[in-house]
Symmetry: C2
Subunit: 445 residues, 2 copies
């Protein structure tokens, strides 16, 4: 038979079992956290009609889309979870209860140039709160509060949710009389982090035609991150005043949500997709590695589904780029080594030909919710112990003639080799307690 | 702005929130059950190189595949989870511990003709145990035991795992001297359920050229489902003897696993993909609706990855067709109406302008793992109660001036409208207990 080399496409993450276990742990904590905040799960198709999916897309995104024809149907793979949400809410608005709080965790596809840390298939973990006609600004504080709670549960302490409000930037341009140039000015401002204030000053005056004073004032205000400095000019722009008021409401409520000061920060340089976001915008950086960019971004929008419906659906959402986040955490050694990655918490090794005692023991342990495997193979005990050890299984149970005679089991702690014999009920309860402890392990150190 | 009608492709399941909650509940019970038996999660890409994915495929399957070109790469969407498993194990055999016990729950794609209850995108929930060179027959009992345990946890009582052993059929053909025609005979035998014994007898004699006696004997043996009748002719075929011995080992161990007699049954008519399975084969029928066919099928194979490696990798696996199962349960009214489908277990309704007490209350409730939402919208309490009721939220908490003054909260049981005021700690604990109860609800009735 001819052999085809088994390979996985480049840009597609495929993990070995221990890494997959860590990935699943992170995914499940994220999902659990979203659930706790009352978001309802959604699961839209990976394939959509191109006409529907690309109603809005254009530019870079469209080039990256996996698009193909089947029969005479033009199909595309989803490239994010926001467009499918817009489609869904527009199609089912009459059947939903608003505000509609949904989460979706799923794979999306972008045919980017393959490079280290960039994936063509990757998980996004999205939450959105969508209103029908209107939506309170408080939701713009709740969204980062969910992210704070989620990252904390993961064990990630060093992160900052950086926030701005699009109305502040638009209003500031208004106040400075440069509204007409806002898109271009924004593009230049966006480079502040990379090229510095002097270079930006030069670009703004020489290329965008701003006066030296205006450029200097703009840079100073934005770099100051001091919203009180903006209060004095808020009278010049209603939009600016509104942006400042919203930002203050968000900050106040973020504190009420218990988000510590070190985990959020106003950053007036953050703009994000000018044409979509209309209020608060978020980017999240990992303190130890700002160079990896934002691992969680989003914002407020006034009209989720304008391409699908005339109904006005304002909302706010955020997305964790899970595949990239996981890759980064792994690369930088930020995943906990203590996190158990074994498929079972205990492996039962039968020492007699009759497996019924081993099966009964595993069944009782599983009934307590503890993952238990039985090694049925015709191998020596030493080989079985070695397999369990290789998998990182924390405990092994032996059941031989002696144990059966004593109506007990022998349990071995694989960490130190200590073992003892006791009744199954006692051992099961002990394992269950230890397993509960393990479940509380945080995946990020 | 031009409006594109928001629609979802036919053959793609997209659920409303209450149904999605039920679907997720079922999926999560299946996953939890697989985990308890010590299977490790795997997550392979949806897109694979066509050369790799189709190394083995052919016939009907190949026609149904979503295949397309991007750049100069020939790509296909996975049509099952077995081929990706074979690829994975072949590629990583040196890094895995055998027996390799993995589960994978994911979407697969088949461009079938769209019809009621048939989906082009559907979830498969697979477990496989793969050995390196050899694998004990006991695993062929464990696999249906996992399914029994899983379906029981779902609340599905009326189901039968029907089993056969391919060696029994092959051996029987040998014993009857019709080995040369086994593929054709098998195809005819497979119709027994549909066209009956007389029609099968006719086909076997007139089209396959069997003698009337041989045809009659074959049909009688298969229909009897009586393996003891086979013992007498087992001497004529080593394969038959081996098949009988394996089947007996599986049955004995199934009982040791605690699977009740009513949930499994030998069915000598079951064949399944002759070219792949080599030992025990399974099909699972829902007793109340046998017409929907098998909802969970699989079997033993001797060579998982022969297209990718010379390493012999025998295994046994089974797959739950979750999307179809869910669709069927829903259609036949077999899903529990009592199962809560609300996104939150409690909704906090702040009655003051200051939301901090509401936020603090929700935070404390969430800390106990209970999903809590806060209704921040600028609406009347009546409208908020009505929204919570529409979502099926079991409890609502009010926090107004009185509650704040008393340092308590008012909790309302939405089922009967009763309400009382108490300290938050007491209320949280009570809600947590009730929520634990809800978590134990079974999705199938």
């Amino acid at each position: 038979m001819p052999i085809t080399t088994p390979r996985t496409l480049s840009g597609f993450m495929e993990l070995l079992p221990p890494e997959q276990m860590k990935f699943e742990k992170i995914k499940s904590i994220i999902e659990g956290s979203f659930r706790k905040f009352g978001f309802t799960p959604l699961d839209t198709p990976v394939i959509e009609s191109s006409e529907v999916l690309l109603a809005k897309a254009g530019g870079e995104t469209e080039k990256q889309i996996y698009r193909f024809t089947r029969g005479d149907t033009d199909l595309s793979l989803r490239f994010d979870l926001t467009v499918p949400l817009a489609k869904y809410v527009a199609a089912h608005a009459g059947e939903l209860t608003f505000p509609f709080r949904r989460y979706q965790i799923g794979k999306v596809y972008r045919g980017e140039r393959a490079q280290k840390g960039r994936f063509r298939e990757f998980y996004q973990c999205d939450i959105d709160i969508v209103g029908d006609g209107e939506l309170s600004v408080i939701n713009e504080a709740e969204i980062p509060a969910v992210i704070y709670s989620t990252f904390s549960e993961l064990g990630l302490a060093g992160f900052v949710i950086r926030m701005n409000n699009r109305k502040i930037l638009s209003g500031l341009f208004e106040a400075l009389g440069i509204s007409g140039k806002s898109a271009d000015v924004m593009r230049v401002i966006d480079k502040l982090d990379k090229i510095g204030a002097d270079a930006v000053q030069k670009l703004l005056t020489e290329e965008e035609g701003l006066s030296a004073d205006t450029a200097r004032e703009l840079i100073a205000i934005i770099q100051s991150n001091d919203t009180t400095a903006l209060d004095s000019i808020a009278a010049k722009s209603e939009t600016l005043a509104e942006g400042l008021s919203e930002l203050n409401a968000v900050l106040t409520n973020l504190r009420a949500f218990g988000v510590p000061e070190e985990n959020f920060r106003v950053d007036l340089t953050i703009a994000r997709g000018l044409d979509y976001y209309t209020g608060t915008v978020y980017e999240t950086t990992v303190t130890a590695h700002p160079e990896i960019g934002s691992v969680c971004s989003g914002g407020r929008y006034d009209n989720l589904a304008e391409y699908y419906t005339k109904r006005r659906l304002p909302g706010v959402g955020i997305s964790i780029g899970l595949t990239r986040l996981f890759y980064t955490l792994n690369e930088y050694g930020m995943l906990s080594e203590e996190l158990s990655t074994a498929p079972s918490f205990v492996t039962v090794i039968p020492m007699t030909e009759d497996f019924s005692h081993a099966i009964a023991a595993a069944t009782e342990i599983r009934a307590l919710g503890v993952p238990a495997a039985i090694d049925f193979e015709a191998k020596k005990v030493k080989a079985k112990l070695s397999a369990a050890s290789k998998l990182g299984v924390p405990y092994v149970i032996f059941i031989g003639e002696d144990e059966i005679a004593q109506n007990g089991v022998t349990v071995r702690d694989m960490a130190n080799g200590s073992q003892f014999t006791a009744g199954l009920a006692v051992v099961s309860r002990g394992l269950s307690d230890k397993y509960e402890e393990q479940l509380r392990q945080k995946p990020i150190k």
